[in-house]
Symmetry: C2
Subunit: 239 residues, 2 copies
């Protein structure tokens, strides 16, 4: 069985300039793997209308589901919602359901609504709102794209809102064997084992510790019994 595929589109100059280190990708990767959805590609692009539109179209066509992060706040550099509407040929304007959610939030906080805040109620016509329990301004789902905030606490909350609505496959199980030998020593037998277990994926991730070479050999698959069998063979070969 092949698991559903997903891609992530990270929108943000601040990550490309090295100012901020993205945290959302690593979080989403772990959540999707646990849910049996294969994260197949991530793209990080700048706050540029045409680049965002091109990227979302390419990813939405290629993968089952796309998650975006960033660019849905109230400031002039938040252009994601308009890009998503353009990518799918939808009209976008302040939508009453989103406006009501924001208004209730600001009324409760004693904050005034203004033009900038109202920008966060701009939602494409046929999109479905994604709940934001942290700061109320909603994300939205348009076609197969889930459009979410870049602030990590809000991103996490939105992922938690969306994930239960998706159909995953069997969760991917992963086991790691740490081998205290260089990759060059283990590559031959490891390649033979990988060929003997086409239903599993085997990867080798080298490291250096205290001046010595080692490698974490990771075996991934959905069949627990097969995984145990392969791990036993690996241990016999390398320890």
């Amino acid at each position: 069985m092949t698991n559903p595929t997903a891609a992530m589109l990270v929108i943000g100059d601040e990550i490309l300039s090295g100012r901020t280190r993205d945290a959302n990708m690593h979080h989403l990767a772990g959540e999707l793997t646990a849910a049996g959805i294969t994260l197949a590609e991530v793209r990080i692009v700048a706050d540029d209308h045409d680049v965002i539109v091109d990227a979302v179209k390419a990813l939405a066509a290629r993968y089952d589901t796309v998650f975006s992060s960033g660019g849905i706040g109230p400031t002039h550099d938040d252009i994601t919602a308009d890009c998503m509407a353009a990518a799918f040929g939808q009209r976008i304007d302040v939508r009453e359901d989103a406006r009501a959610i924001l208004q209730a939030h600001y009324d409760k906080a004693g904050t005034e609504m203004n033009d900038a805040r109202l920008r966060m109620a701009r939602i494409p016509d046929d999109a479905k709102l994604i709940e934001n329990p942290v700061s109320s301004a909603p994300g939205f789902t348009i076609e197969n794209v889930h459009v979410m905030a870049g602030v990590p606490s809000v991103f996490k909350a939105m992922v938690a809102s969306v994930l239960p609505t998706l159909t995953g496959g069997a969760p991917l199980i992963s086991k790691t064997l740490t081998v205290h030998r260089g990759e060059g020593d283990i590559a031959g037998p490891l390649g033979d084992l990988a060929a003997a277990y086409p239903g599993l994926s085997m990867g080798s991730y080298p490291f250096q510790r205290d001046g010595k070479y080692g490698s974490n050999v990771v075996v991934r698959g959905q069949d627990a019994a097969l995984l145990d069998e392969a791990m036993a063979q690996l241990e016999a070969a390398f320890t």
Copy 2:
């Protein structure tokens, strides 16, 4: 003046599965920004031949320079060198200059050369080797693509080998003003200021601290005097 553009291609299942958190992108982003090269896009893809070939072709055509990380070790899942050769229609085989570097390294370490280690000397015909002072196995430059290791210490060393050979523009200067008000409060005046300084880029990055909203307003540009002037205006408006 427009700075040269770059893209990064991260090759590795282990990052997409959430097992490993990538560190190389953040490092490269900072180095390029300091060198006056704009990192415009990052793609993270799986260890899949066709996907890697497609991605490197797309990025090499769109940007001045491409940096890849990962997949050039001795194990069966290290397929990057062959993908790069395929992307640019070059022949690839064990190359004598690369073999000699590896042989000298293993002779010194008293380690035996074997088929797996020899894989690391597979270099496309017209590629130029990139020095690896950490573990000797070289990276290579093919057309406008710099192909480097995924192990962070080696990646860093290879970036240091390559960067001085590139022509950058004026370094991007960046200044940050932390405003202890919600983005919705500052978005209007900030948008006006951004429009008044088309030669600078202004971004707003919201945060929550101790239950209160704030925002880091980041101004980026290459003209230090203009940047100082805009920062003074920002401070007058928001503090």
